[in-house]
Amino acid sequence: MYFNTTQYILFLPLVVILFYLTPFRFRWLLLLAASYYFYVCWRAEFMVVIIFSTMVNYFSAILIARNKTNKRNKKIFLTIALVINLGMLIILKYLGFINDFFHEIFGIIPAPTSPLLYLIAPVGLSYFTLQSLTYVFDTYYNLREPEKHPGIFALYVAFFPLILSGPIEQSTHLLPQFRDKARAKLKSVNIEEGIKLIIWGYFLKLVVADRTSIYVDAVFGNVDRHGGITFIAALILYSFQIYSDFAGYSCIAIGSARLMGFDVLHNFNRPYFSQSISEFWTRWHISLSTWLRNYLFNPLSYYFMRKLQKERYLKIIKPELLTYAIAASITFLMCGIWHGANFTFIIWGSLHGFYLIVDRIINKKGGNRVLNIIITYILVLFAWIFFRSENVHQSLTVIKAILTHPGSLYIPFDSDVVAPVYAVLGIFILLMVEVKREFFNNSFSLSGNKNEYIRMASYGFMIFLILYLGVFDASQFMYVKF
């Protein structure tokens, strides 16, 4: 069940009503049943993976906590949890890719014949694996006590607003909320805030993302026929498509949780207004970048910091810069791989790692704000070429066309002509809202107005826009496939 289906529009209010009617001590059970039902609607057989993952992480954390003073045993249980979690990810998501890689590059493995190599990864696997791992790590580093209640822990793993595409929550932030009775009281502010986020999320998805995708798909579905100008237009639209699709999803997820009083970490903060790539990664997919910083970049930094401090030949390059370069390269390589089993994602991730290192070497501070925003946007746009392409060859075709063959702008003259117009209108509204929030945050606000009639009218207007301009074909959210 995706968020943009009629099924979810009926499911969510029903769960929220039942949630507030159920006594507090049984709410975890209601939410767990609702979450499992939500997941089963997609593919029932993958429930096995979720339940297995839940059990592994539940028992690992308890065993880690029991061996607080025995460092060796503690490490063994952490390693077991890591091997099983990452093993599941590798087998279900990357095995086919790894086999192809070794077959094509080195020829040491025969061509794949078994369909088992190309299993479809259970939807949400990349997200709930990372979310579960934060819990295991946090227990290992004594940041929290293990959750004794298996039902509440199972809910943390499978909580339906977050299971398909995050935001990837931190165990120290979300888990205690399931036990917080004061938070679970019905409050009008939570209901209104939740509805507001959900409406904005649907606007981003159904109007901006799904309208722009029509043009973008038409161009990228036929790369040999288009010139550079068309690709630049498609890339700009794609940058809004991917942002609106994922930010829209995140808003619906956060809003759904908020309806029941849960506070979920925000995932986006107007990323295209970033003045540098490092700032971009504090504003784009924040829950993933926070996870990568806390559990990959920082441990790698510590490791290399200690190793490199002792090296004498590093007098030319400062050890902290080299530490940063190595840790950032590995982190962003992994970030690319996390997005999918394709070289395009690896190049996209590595490119961002490269940008960060160059940014650090140049170490330019200040400058014109608008110019910084434009430069950062162009760099991000260039990296999106790889992210959007089916394969590296397609990416290179697009880059070559942009550099050597401008051509003329492709305008669809069939029934699709309305799509780009609606897409541009959607993007215009999105930009108006974001420019206002970024530069004039304290000025007059419609959706945040003190007058409730003005607020309600603004929500009503947004719903009208969604119904009038939106696409209602229940298309998949892009980030679900990661």
């Binding site: 790590f137 580093y141 940041l143 490092s278 970049f297 930094s301 510590y302 050890p319 902290e320 940063y324």
Partner: protein, 80 residues
């Protein structure tokens, strides 16, 4: 070392690393809100604090510090 002395020393380290002489930290200052703090300066700050206080942090000790007060307490706890 006294807590106030640690705070004073931390203030000096942050001012040097973040190249901001006017920085004024209190126990309540949220580390991630400090101007100029990022993943790179984090590496430099840890290296500098380890050198100045003659100790070694483990991976999550700094991460679990919400504010400068937590950082002072962590350093005080690790003092020989």
């Amino acid at each position: 070392m006294e807590s106030t002395e640690i705070l004073k020393k931390i203030n000096h380290i942050f001012a040097t690393v973040l190249e901001n002489r006017e920085i004024l930290l209190s126990r309540e200052t949220i580390i991630t809100n400090i101007k100029g703090w990022d993943s790179f300066s984090n590496i430099r700050l840890i290296m500098s604090m380890e050198k100045n206080f003659e100790l070694k942090f483990n991976t999550f000790e700094i991460q679990s510090c919400k504010n400068i007060g937590d950082l002072c307490d962590t350093i005080q706890r690790k003092q020989p």
